[in-house]
Symmetry: C2
Subunit: 206 residues, 2 copies
């Protein structure tokens, strides 16, 4: 059987990752969304295993120790991470899974899961990026310089990704991501791997 | 400007390359089809530069000598080849061009144009391949053995291709090829090259 893919969708803050993901969710109902583990308490209506995997601090530390997280980070005293097991079970079942994550987290995932498909969502144009950096003209030169250096760092991180998708229009960006998923399933190296496994299985049967 | 892509569509004889190409032509009217050079005489209604580039034997030999053909071959006393110039002018203008060609020709193109996107059209299943090889049971064991060894050679050549597209249904195969074209335009290495050129152009302007 054809294995599923881990699709990692990342990009600079404010580029629209969340919006693109929610539209993709409607367009590709068969795509699985990665569920994070967290130490924060469940809010009303949140379901364990659907919204998050809710863990105690001890359980979370244990997951780190067992290398059971593809990446993790701490925000406002709570820990969040991507359970490796959920990703691996999903792709073993032949389904694709998407993980929406900020740039640094995506790079940590790549270290542990290099066979993932890493997509960098880009702002529509360099001009727009420049305008965003310059802002409304109310920022100090220091602030502008800092934002510019962050933008340069972000573009440099693009080199660790497989694809750059421009988020000019949400539907166009989603169409590109869908195309990338279809194309990756056709990639000869993935195909040959599956073919070799299939041939081996066929030989065993014969 | 974003450069176009050379898409090379190949695969074993009888897999349906021509049919897939003619359907793609309707689905993607903006895609340019590579026009071959030939030494054979034009038939009634054929237009130079549209159906073929009609060349004398001397002109064709001169193109070979100038390395002006990405590949060439001789069939029934006539020469056929793929003019490099037509491909390069098309992609420089930002348009994608597709070349439908048999397996050996595609590998020659790859030597001269490794940045092309090489797609191998596959029969629907290994079982079907086996059935086709075994035929209707009227072939001699020698013929079956010969066909099987050809099939093995073909699968071995798959390793030189970027993608394997299964031709189970023509529309499904066309959709996969269209997805590959969109995805290849998003590939980070192509994107960064264009981005670097864009940045250089912007800097020159400033």
């Amino acid at each position: 059987m054809d294995k599923g893919l881990l699709i990692v969708l990342s990009g600079p803050s404010g580029v629209g990752k969340g919006t693109v993901c929610s539209v993709l969710r409607k367009r590709l109902p068969e795509l699985v969304y990665s569920v994070s583990a967290t130490t924060r308490a469940a809010r009303q209506g949140e379901v364990d295993g659907v919204n998050y995997f809710f863990k105690s601090k001890e359980q979370f530390q244990d997951m780190i120790a067992r290398d059971a997280l593809l990446e993790y980070a701490e925000y406002v005293d709570n820990c969040y991470g991507t359970p490796r097991d959920f990703v691996e079970r999903t792709i073993a079942s032949g389904r694709d899974i998407i993980l929406e994550i900020e740039v640094q987290g995506a790079l940590k995932v790549k270290e542990k899961f290099p066979e993932g498909v890493f997509i960098f969502l880009m702002p529509p144009s360099l001009d727009e990026l420049k305008q965003r950096i310059t802002g409304r003209g109310t920022e100090s030169q220091d602030t502008i310089n800092h934002r510019m250096s962050v933008a340069v760092e972000e573009i440099n991180l693009l080199e660790h990704y497989d694809y750059a998708v421009i988020n000019d229009q949400i539907d166009a960006a989603c169409h590109r991501i869908e195309s990338i998923i279809v194309a990756e399933h056709c990639r000869r190296d993935r195909f040959v791997k599956n073919l070799t496994e299939l041939q081996a299985a066929t030989t065993e049967k014969a």
